[in-house]
């Protein structure tokens, strides 16, 4: 727990990987905020989740700027993975909380690409940071 809240001293390369992950989180958060105001606000529960995604994304990006790398990795995964799963379910015949979408348009694809990139980069950056921490210990 303490490790999550401590400022991390990272190699520039690891920091660059995590910064790219943060860019992915930020793009997905911006897109969720945009879609919220362009009609999703009226979709019960799903609209509120879009709004929370945008706020959460901003908060997660701020954790990296404040050098809380572990908190950032945890936050990025906590936002992007459920979001990707929800998008997949809403595009299936099951629907997500009663909401179904028929296909991936440009708006959805931007979110999927940004969040997949954020997850992969956050995992890679987190793994590299862990290896760095072990070698320093």
């Amino acid at each position: 727990m303490r490790r999550l809240l401590e400022p991390a001293r990272l190699d520039p390369l690891i920091l660059a990987v995590l910064a790219l992950a943060a860019a992915g989180v930020l793009v997905a958060g911006l897109q969720h905020a945009r879609l919220y105001h362009r009609g999703y606000a009226e979709v019960q529960v799903v609209g509120a989740l879009f709004f929370l995604n945008a706020i959460g994304s901003a908060a997660v990006v701020l954790t990296l700027i404040l050098r809380r790398a572990w908190l950032f990795v945890l936050g990025a995964l906590s936002i992007c993975v459920p979001s990707l799963v929800s998008i997949a379910i809403s595009h299936s015949s099951l629907g997500f909380l009663g909401f179904r979408e028929g296909g991936y348009d440009a708006d959805a694809l931007i979110i999927v690409i940004a969040e997949v990139a954020a997850v992969l980069l956050a995992l890679a950056g987190g793994a590299a940071a862990a290896a760095q921490a072990r070698s320093r210990a």
């Binding site: 930020l26 362009r38 009609g39 009226e42 979709v43 706020i55 901003a58 979408e101 028929g102």
Partner: protein, 157 residues
């Protein structure tokens, strides 16, 4: 440097979350029906029976479409209470929405599997409900058109 970056993130995300410069949902550009139109639609819907209205809610149509008479407030798709289409056209739009996407709306948003999920009778009931809500003409040749289309996945008949 960190402070500037943090301030920039807060500013950009704050503006996006507040909706500054984002615009509005396409449905908000459409005119709402008058009070008299809403009252007339409510009367037609009552006269029609509950099946179409139930299907409208069960299939999640109200998440994306507005019908003031039943307090459906979706804004992702076109308003359905100001349509100028008959029941046959509406049924075709339900079954094959890609062929009938309204201008200015996302082309790939509406699911395309209603013909598999619903029986022909259900699609007809839903189309009649939307027709009643919009004040369009109901299809009087109901049974013939149902036989002729031959769509549907064998649900309730």
């Amino acid at each position: 440097m960190r402070l500037v970056l943090a301030a920039l993130v807060v500013l950009v995300m704050g503006c996006a979350i507040a909706g500054v410069g984002i615009g509005e949902a396409p449905a908000e550009r459409e005119p709402a029906p008058t009070r008299a139109q809403v009252a007339a639609a409510a009367q037609r819907i009552r006269a029609l029976g509950p099946q179409g209205r139930r299907l409208f809610a069960d299939e999640g149509c109200d998440r994306c479409h507005s019908i003031a008479a039943i307090d459906a407030a979706g804004k992702l798709g076109p308003r359905l209470d100001i349509l100028d289409e008959d029941a046959e056209d509406i049924a075709e739009s339900i079954v094959d929405p890609r062929e009938h996407t309204a201008d200015g709306y996302p082309e790939r948003l509406m699911p395309t599997d209603y013909a598999q999920r619903m029986s022909d009778a259900e699609i007809r009931a839903l189309a009649d409900f939307v027709t009643a809500a919009s004040g369009g003409e109901a299809d009087e040749d109901d049974d013939d058109s149902r036989r002729g289309r031959g769509r549907g996945g064998g649900g309730e008949g």
